[in-house]
């Protein structure tokens, strides 16, 4: 029995739905269950996923006709997600062990894309997710990660494509010694609206997390970064940090940051920070005095700023992939 019709539409007073309400990200009318094409996966075995009582996850599950399992065992895998058609959707199960790397590229010209990912990490998994969708597409992305004992998830995402994006990423540090090192870079241009919600839950003692989100906002783009960092009762000895930074490049650009913190255990270290600032005119002056055009200088500063979001990511394959995609994207913006 489908859960979605039974789930109440969440109010905007909820942290998660404040800036991109469910009505806005739903592809049609909220009570409708549209037909969807399936995402073309470059690899993976057929699999299945359970329904969810969370509205976005349940919706994607209800309209998806494909679910793939990506199993990684001490290896590097690239996974292309080709999204086309009016509405398309798909689900992915990731199971990883050993020291593995997964590079996911989301591309295509679909009008609306829904992706639900569920991952289990044993050992170390480095993930790069690149949103390279065409400029008119809408993306709803829900991810749930469970990081096991003494395991590490390195999570890096570059969000540069699509017109309206909402990402809801939840990471559970379930057992002692589990760790998250996360980096999110969002480049806003034209009227792009990019909303990232990241929930990190420290469920066990001696768990560690660090998250950096950098958003560069140009033209009349709008970036939203909301985070909820929870250190549960009994998760003593945990260490958590979150930083949200926004670089505002234009008069009409907007940025929102809400890094929330809930601490229910003592003997922990928990910190978060948020900052917003314009481009330093001295940096622009320095670069233009060395022969760069204003656009090139600005792009170079944006590149440095966005790549700095991945400072905690140790996997160089992941960092190199993201840098390449970011440079291509910035080049395309400059050349129009």
């Amino acid at each position: 029995m489908m859960q979605y019709p039974k789930i109440a539409i969440p109010p905007r007073s909820e942290h998660l739905w404040r800036y991109t309400p469910w009505k806005r990200i739903h592809p049609t009318k909220v009570e409708e269950m549209p037909n969807a094409d399936h995402i073309l996966f470059s690899s993976g075995e057929d699999s299945a996923m359970d329904d969810s009582d969370e509205i976005a996850r349940s919706f994607i599950h209800s309209i998806s006709s494909v679910c793939k399992l990506v199993a990684l065992d001490d290896e590097l895998q690239e996974l292309d997600l080709r999204c086309s058609g009016h509405i398309c959707a798909g689900e992915i199960n990731v199971k990883s062990q050993g020291n593995s790397t997964l590079i996911v590229r989301i591309s295509g010209d679909a009008g609306w894309t829904g992706i639900r990912l569920s991952g289990e990490v044993k050992g170390t998994l480095s993930v790069a997710v690149v949103n390279d969708l065409s400029g008119e597409g809408h993306l709803l992305r829900c991810e749930d990660w469970a990081v096991g004992r003494d395991s590490t998830l390195e999570f890096a995402t570059l969000s540069a494509g699509g017109f309206l994006n909402k990402s809801d990423i939840r990471v559970n540090l379930t057992q002692t010694g589990s760790e998250l090192r996360g980096g999110i870079a969002s480049n806003g241009h034209n009227s792009r609206h990019d909303d990232h919600h990241i929930e990190i839950t420290h469920k066990s003692k001696h768990t560690y997390s660090s998250l950096v989100m950098h958003a560069a906002c140009d033209d009349s783009s709008h970036s939203v970064g909301t985070g909820l960092l929870t250190i549960c009762e009994g998760a003593g000895g945990s260490d958590a940090g979150q930083v949200f930074r926004n670089l505002l490049l234009s008069e009409k650009a907007r940025a929102e940051a809400i890094p929330e913190l809930e601490v229910l255990a003592d003997d922990v270290k928990a910190a978060h920070g948020a900052a917003s600032a314009p481009v330093d005119v001295n940096q622009i002056h320095y670069l233009t005095s060395r022969g760069l055009s204003r656009e090139e200088a600005s792009a170079l500063i944006v590149e440095g700023f966005l790549m700095d979001a991945f400072r905690h990511v140790k996997n160089q394959d992941v960092v190199a992939t993201l840098r390449t995609r970011l440079l291509v994207h910035l080049e395309c913006l400059i050349s129009g």
């Binding site: 003593g236 008069e251 940051a257 913190l261 922990v268 928990a270």
Partner: protein, 469 residues
């Protein structure tokens, strides 16, 4: 329920004594449109104020409870069990000797007249719904400074009150501002003329004495161009096993170049719901400072806010919260940068102990026209045991690319190194903890008048007793 049993329920509390109720007028419990009309009639208010109250009452009935803060605690409030008006004395006295003896004794135990003689420019003492004593230094009166209780302010200066009342905090702002606007009684009314600097602080002291009492004072402070004032308020209530409700509204208006500092040390007993709306408007080059200490109450939801409406205006919010057993301090600050070159600083510090919960909830907004704004928010929290909780819910909305904003927050426990260092110098563990906590709150206490700072440190020491072991 006996006093001892009540203390068992809500804990030890220094100002938990109470006097017999000698009410001259006491309304029945519960709220209706008739109660609102009766309050207005009793006070001989002008018709426009009665209308404002009635409209606000209707808004209160329509509006839902806030869906944030502590919904469980909020939903426990029984509005029908609250007494909305209680008059304890025949009127507001200007001579301390004329105050009824029982009330005088209460305030003498709280040290009010002594403080007035030593270091205050004026004082208002509110007991239940209305002010019972009021005085102002003659030199300030000669300079044209108006400092009255709000009821007298409305009676004597209706044109000023009408001009500013509910313009900063409208009744429709939230359910509790609607409630306050409907049933307000007492509070302070201050007008500082152009260019006048009130050097000594003026003080208001709010005391709830009766059981199930609701105190709804309304304070309006207007600092005209180039003037300044420092206003201090303190709050206590007896320890009963049943709950009381304190829902105040404070409106500040700082004209061009004016400065208002509003300091609060809230030490309600742990059976009081403290749901307060405080907001100020700062015009060009004006400064509004909120210095806010929350030690007591069962649930505090209070977010002093400033609308920076004039170019070059500045907001400063320093708040500390202590959440002990059964307490939730949901405090914070809101600053809206509406004009260019406005600046703000927010410093929030909290301590949670014995299962208490402290939350910082903040809003920092920069509108598209507000060029060149700068703001810094710092939240530090200390957790003293594993049963307690600390949360931070900051919101930053930036609509102008030239804004320079920073927010940082940290939660930690008291460092063992610091404890060890102090204990190696001969302090007991409890003393060492007390010193660390006082040091943690020092950025707040140094902004308070000295007597308040000393009192706060003493209160914190009392609260910290038994924190170790």
């Amino acid at each position: 329920m006996s006093g001892d049993t009540a203390r068992e329920v809500v804990g030890e509390y220094q100002y938990g004594f109470h006097d017999p109720e000698n009410a001259t007028i006491r309304f029945d419990k519960g709220l209706s449109e008739q109660v609102v009309r009766d309050i207005s009639e009793l006070k001989n208010e002008p018709e426009w104020m009665t209308e404002v109250r009635i409209k606000a009452y209707r808004r209160f009935i329509e509006m839902p409870m806030p869906t944030w803060g502590n919904c469980d605690m909020l939903n426990q409030i029984d509005f029908d069990a609250v007494t909305y008006f209680l008059r304890s004395s025949k009127g507001t006295e200007n001579n301390w000797d004329d105050v009824p003896d029982d009330i005088k004794n209460t305030f003498e135990r709280l040290g009010i007249p002594e403080a007035e003689q030593k270091w205050l420019g004026g004082v208002t003492a509110q007991y239940e719904s209305e002010a019972v004593y009021h005085s102002i230094r003659e030199d300030l009166e000669e300079q044209g400074v108006l400092f009255l209780d709000m009821d007298s302010g409305l009676r004597e200066y209706p044109e000023i009150v009408k001009k500013y009342f509910a313009t900063v905090v409208p009744a429709s702002d939230n359910k509790f501002s609607a409630l306050n606007t409907a049933v307000w009684s007492g509070g302070s009314f201050i007008y500082v003329p152009k260019g006048v600097h009130v050097a000594m602080p003026v003080q208001a002291y709010f005391r709830i004495n009766a059981k199930n009492m609701g105190q709804f004072e309304r304070t309006l402070i207007i600092a005209d161009e180039g003037s300044s004032i420092n206003y201090v308020e303190g709050c206590t209530a007896p320890t009963y096993s049943t709950e009381s409700l304190h829902s105040a509204v404070v409106e500040l208006v700082a004209m061009d170049g004016a400065k208002i500092r509003y300091s609060t040390v809230q030490n309600w007993s742990a059976n009081v719901y403290n749901l307060v709306t405080k907001r100020g408007i700062a015009y060009a080059n004006a400064t509004i400072e909120w210095v806010d200490g929350n030690i007591g109450s069962k649930l505090t939801m209070k977010y002093p806010s400033v609308l920076l409406k004039g170019e070059g205006s500045h907001a400063e919010v320093i708040s500390v919260a202590y959440a002990g057993k059964g307490q939730h301090q949901d405090a914070g600050a809101k600053v809206h940068h509406l004009a260019p070159n406005t600046t703000s600083n927010i410093l929030s510090k909290s301590i949670s102990k014995n299962g208490g919960r402290s939350s910082y909830r903040g809003m920092l907004q920069v509108t598209p026209k507000a060029h060149g704004c700068r703001s810094k928010v710092v939240c530090d929290a200390l957790l003293l045991d594993s049963d307690s909780q600390s949360d931070t819910y900051p919101t930053m909305e930036i609509g102008n690319s030239s804004a320079d904003l920073e927010h940082e927050a940290s939660v930690s426990k008291v460092s063992n190194d610091q404890l060890f260092y102090l204990m190696s110098r001969g302090h007991s563990e409890a003393e060492a903890m007390g010193l660390i906590v006082n040091g943690f709150f020092e950025p707040f206490t140094r902004e308070l008048p000295m007597e308040y700072a000393v009192e706060l440190n003493r209160l914190l020491e009392l609260e910290m007793e038994g924190a170790i072991g």
